[in-house]
């Protein structure tokens, strides 16, 4: 474990080059490159806002203002979704490079998570903008006034936890994707289920009884607690956070084991 981290650290320059390569391919082309990063979560938040607030009139299932609540869930979800999809392809899509360079293979996974993480950071300005708008609007309409508080400091913690989770999932999925044909199709369905199993459009404690406890085992539930606490008048629920830390640790260890185990087979197949 320590040696793996050290090897990654030794290759941090290569990691930086690869991340820059990813981002330059995405952003160097056009200004629209950046817009795509924010259009997706904005559009999704908009859709759910229209459906739940204007049509179903169920804004009470999230914190107020509901749009901000959606956004604080949607942005980390986008990082999760993008990283799992691209992380699973990390080895396959760079087959030529994997075959021709002698870098620690974990690097290909980590690089995807980092690149998507930077995109996530770049999407945060819309969260700041939305918060400021609601703070201004809230002066006249106290029902939509966000409660920005000191718990914002938990955001980096949420990011760190999410990064570990994503690296673990990437290490788990990348070799499987190379060896099993239908991985992408299965993954697409699983991710759709995961979207609704993550408290993005609702609050986890609005789920009845045992279902709430089941949702705790989705590590993203605890991670979203960290992201959201600083924006709304609420305390962090530590139950899901603790479960999330445990599940994340398990996923990470499992990912490392599977990756090591399958690495020789993957190299033959790729």
């Amino acid at each position: 474990m320590a040696s793996a981290v050290r090897r990654l650290y030794e290759n941090r320059r290569v990691l930086r080059i690869m991340v820059q390569r990813d981002l330059s391919v995405r952003y160097a082309k056009s200004f629209l490159g950046y817009l795509w990063t924010i259009i997706d979560p904005l559009a999704m938040s908009m859709i759910y806002f229209v459906v739940f607030v204007l049509i179903f009139q169920r804004a009470g299932h999230g914190y107020s203002p509901y749009f901000l609540f959606l956004l604080t869930g949607m942005l980390p979800w986008q990082w999760f979704n993008g990283s799992v999809t691209a992380g699973a392809k990390a080895l396959q899509s760079e087959a030529k490079l994997v075959r021709s360079t002698r870098l620690p293979r974990e690097l290909w996974v980590v690089r995807v998570i980092v690149a998507k993480g930077i995109e996530f950071l770049l999407s945060l300005p819309i969260l700041v903008a939305a918060t400021i708008i609601y703070l201004i609007v809230g002066q006249n309409d106290p029902t939509v006034l966000p409660h920005v508080n000191w718990q914002l400091v938990f955001i980096p913690l949420g990011m760190a936890l999410q990064a570990v989770l994503l690296v673990g999932l990437g290490l788990l999925l990348a070799p499987i994707q190379v060896l099993v044909n239908d991985t992408q199709q299965v993954l697409r369905i699983v991710l759709r289920v995961m979207f609704y199993a993550t408290p993005i459009i609702y609050l986890v404690n609005k789920a009845p009884g045992v279902l709430e406890k089941i949702l705790w085992f989705n590590p993203m539930t605890g991670i979203l607690e960290f992201y959201r606490a600083g924006f709304f008048d609420s305390e962090i629920r530590w139950g899901p956070v603790i479960v999330s830390v445990v599940v994340t640790a398990i996923v990470f260890v499992l990912g490392r084991l599977v990756f090591q185990r399958l690495e020789p087979a993957v190299l033959k197949e790729i």
Binding site: R13, I17, N181
Partner: protein, 246 residues
């Protein structure tokens, strides 16, 4: 005597004979196993040898003999199933030369990226940039800011060769790349390879050209169906190989 820079011990790697070894989920669920034949073969087995610093070794043998597989294991891009190979110095692999290049970026950016992936810092690339471009030839020089995918395949390989051979790594692995490029470029490649050898670098060359092997190598390894059958002066090993095939 100094420690050998490469030592292989009982090296073996096993492949599936069927091209479709990929698992399908349907089979895993419904049959609890895959229906593809579990037929395997050893691409290499019981291969042991040592290479000292500065040696130039040529790999000889028919197609499917395991030459490229051996080279890949030395390069660290395949992991042996049996035995081990220890490589004590850095390796510059001339395998899949254009692997690191991205079609959408310019040749200029690609040079920095690929050299960076192989461990050069930006400053080091700055220093060598003119050399790299010069070596790759005038066409490449004229198209430096063109997207890489607009290059002809010959130009792509030339640039790849140029980048990888400017690396400082003391061990150089060459897999059949000398066969590419036009005559003028080939002559340049030969000159560069000889230059690298005279600097005391260790060379591993896979080639079907007896001329190339004799020209660069002093030692030959003969692989036949995954077995190391001969190890000695390159002339003798080549003779052994041609006797086998006559």
């Amino acid at each position: 005597m100094a420690k050998p820079v490469i030592s292989a011990e009982g090296l073996g790697i096993e492949f599936y004979r069927s091209r479709r070894r990929k698992l399908s989920l349907r089979e895993m669920i419904f049959q609890r196993r895959t229906t593809h034949p579990r037929d395997t073969f050893w691409a290499l087995r019981d291969v042991s040898f040592e290479v000292a610093k500065g040696e130039a070794v040529g790999l000889v043998g028919a197609n499917g003999g395991g030459k490229s597989t051996l080279l890949k294991m030395i390069a660290g891009v395949l992991i042996p199933d049996e035995g081990s190979v220890k490589v004590r110095q850095g390796v510059a692999p001339l395998i899949e030369l254009t692997g690191g290049f991205l079609g959408d970026l310019s040749a200029r950016d690609n040079i920095y990226l690929t050299a960076g992936l192989h461990g050069l810092t930006k400053e080091q690339v700055d220093e060598r940039f003119d050399d790299i471009v010069e070596f790759a030839g005038q066409q490449v020089k004229d198209g430096l800011d063109m997207p890489f995918r607009h290059f002809s395949s010959g130009m792509q390989v030339r640039l790849g060769f140029s980048v990888v051979t400017t690396l400082d790594e003391p061990i150089i692995l060459v897999d059949e790349v000398l066969a590419v490029g036009d005559m003028a470029f080939k002559a340049k490649c030969y000159a560069r390879m000889e230059g690298l050898l005279s600097e005391g670098r260790t060379l591993f060359l896979v080639s079907h050209s007896a001329g190339d092997l004799k020209r660069f190598c002093d030692r030959g390894l003969y692989l036949r169906q995954g077995q190391l059958v001969d190890d000695g002066p390159v002339e003798e090993v080549l003779k052994h190989y041609s006797d086998d095939n006559s």
